[in-house]
Amino acid sequence: MATTPLHGFGLGLRPPHYEEFLEGRVPVDFVEVISENFMLDGGRPLHVLERIRAIHPIALHGVSMSIGSADGLDPAYLQRLRKLVDRIEPAVVSDHLCWTRIEGFNSHDLLPLPYTAEALDLVCTNILRAQDALGRAMLIENPSSYLTFGQSEMTEWEFLAEMTARTGCFLLLDVNNIYVSATNHAFDPVAYLDGVPADRVRQIHLAGHSQGRELLIDTHDQAICPSVWSLYQHACRLVGPVATMIERDDNIPPLEDLLAELAVARDLAGIRDRVAA
């Protein structure tokens, strides 16, 4: 089972849609799964994933690597992830520019980093170590955030550009995250898109968000809003054809609704007729 480069338009694999994916009749080019949900000893989830892997290329998307942890990566986590990578042979392996864990405490949230030279050194060291452990380059996703740090010395997109240059990692560009953070922290999302190294982008995420009392919250429980679609179109112009998927983690609608959103993405990306067999 050879790995194939990620391309086209995909959806996340969520339990309500397991059966439809297993029947092989979901017209997507790839399927993305949350890595940690399958870093298990055995059982039905792994069995389902292996069957779907026989039908679709898989993108492994992690939430717990914690590449921004000041006390480094968890070797046991890397070992588990490598085992899954060897078993599934995914097209890509990704995680987030964030930290989730410190000194044994795990928040299970994607927490923001100050964009300092110190953090950049640390993140690059951790990415290089992870890539070494996994035997492949990773994709790192830009986070959504609800606070910024006064100590930051550069913008998030400058941080990402330097990070990719130093480590050889690629970017998973989450357009909704850019929109949420730009709204919350009053920066120009187009300037962000223009500032990331377009040639390092290998995948795009689209999702919906919710309006909190004062800030936008990255809830993945709504349809994609017009402003995010507009940013996506701009991103497509910058990076060219790149694998795109829609994340929906809560308030999950029928698969048809997500496929309709995916059709919009195809249209906006200028790819109207490419539908997986």
Partner: protein
């Protein structure tokens, strides 16, 4: 402030009182953002526990479950890289919160054991028709790796089964004699059976490596020649029927 100090401060803000949160991260909006992370941390962990302990939630009701979950979260910050392990020890918290309602902690233990078995290691159970022709006196059994044993002093099994089937659960009551819960996974489905203490001890002994002949002897000492041998045979037949046994080896194969 270096990164390690920043992250330690952030951790304190997450697990502690948001009003005491460190707000020197940035501008005036930092406290606002920190409050979102502070709240999301608890919401996610409560949701995780509610999803793992679905029948317990139904038994206690949403409000009481949430209160118990918040006590557990305050006392047990998560350490594992996966939320899949966060249910560990919730039964201990509940035993303390509900000292006069032992079915609450037992229901939590049962649901946690079922949850663990769901993603435990795979194994192929030995079908009764595939039992090899062996010398039974020296036979030793291999059990599925998801097998777990717990104690039951209440009718927790009946409560779980009724609620899972969408039926009204029976009132909680103590069993006349303490029993045990046997949990394992059949193919991809977690299963359990309430068993008596004799069967629990028999399983523990067989897992520790005694032979089937030694199990028969122990049963004979307890029940007499005929009934003892029959009981050991009944245990074996039930274990094979349940899909608990993955292999049987005699002296020649050990």
């Amino acid at each position: 402030m270096n990164l390690l100090v920043t992250q330690r401060s952030f951790r304190r803000a997450l697990v502690g009182d948001a009003d005491d949160a460190v707000t020197h991260f940035g501008d005036a909006t930092a406290a606002l953002g920190l409050a979102i992370y502070h709240n999301a941390y608890r919401v996610q962990l409560v949701d995780c526990l509610r999803e793992t302990f679905e029948q317990l939630n139904a038994w206690l009701g949403d409000e009481a479950f949430t209160l118990a979950a918040l006590v557990h979260i305050a006392e047990n910050p998560p350490h594992g890289w996966t939320l899949g392990v966060y249910g560990e020890g919730f039964d201990t918290t509940l035993a303390r919160l509900y000292p006069d309602d032992p079915e609450v902690a037992e229901l939590a233990w049962l649901e946690w054991a079922l949850s663990r078995s769901f993603s435990g290691p795979d194994a192929v159970a030995l079908a009764a028709m595939d039992v090899p022709d062996i010398e039974w006196d020296s036979a030793r059994l291999d059990f599925v790796p998801t097998l777990e044993l717990g104690r039951a002093t209440t009718n927790v099994g009946a409560i779980w089964s009724a609620q899972s089937a969408g039926e009204a659960p029976p009132a909680a009551e103590c069993l006349p004699v303490p029993a045990a819960l046997l949990i394992w996974r059949q193919d991809y489905s977690p299963s359990f059976r309430t068993i008596d203490d004799d069967e629990r001890i028999a399983i523990i002994q067989m897992r520790s490596g005694i032979t089937f002949g030694e199990l028969c002897l122990a049963q004979v000492e307890q029940l007499g020649e005929s009934e003892g041998v029959n009981r050991a045979g009944a245990f074996l037949g039930q274990w094979l029927h349940d899909g608990l046994v993955t292999g049987i080896r005699d002296r020649a194969q050990t």
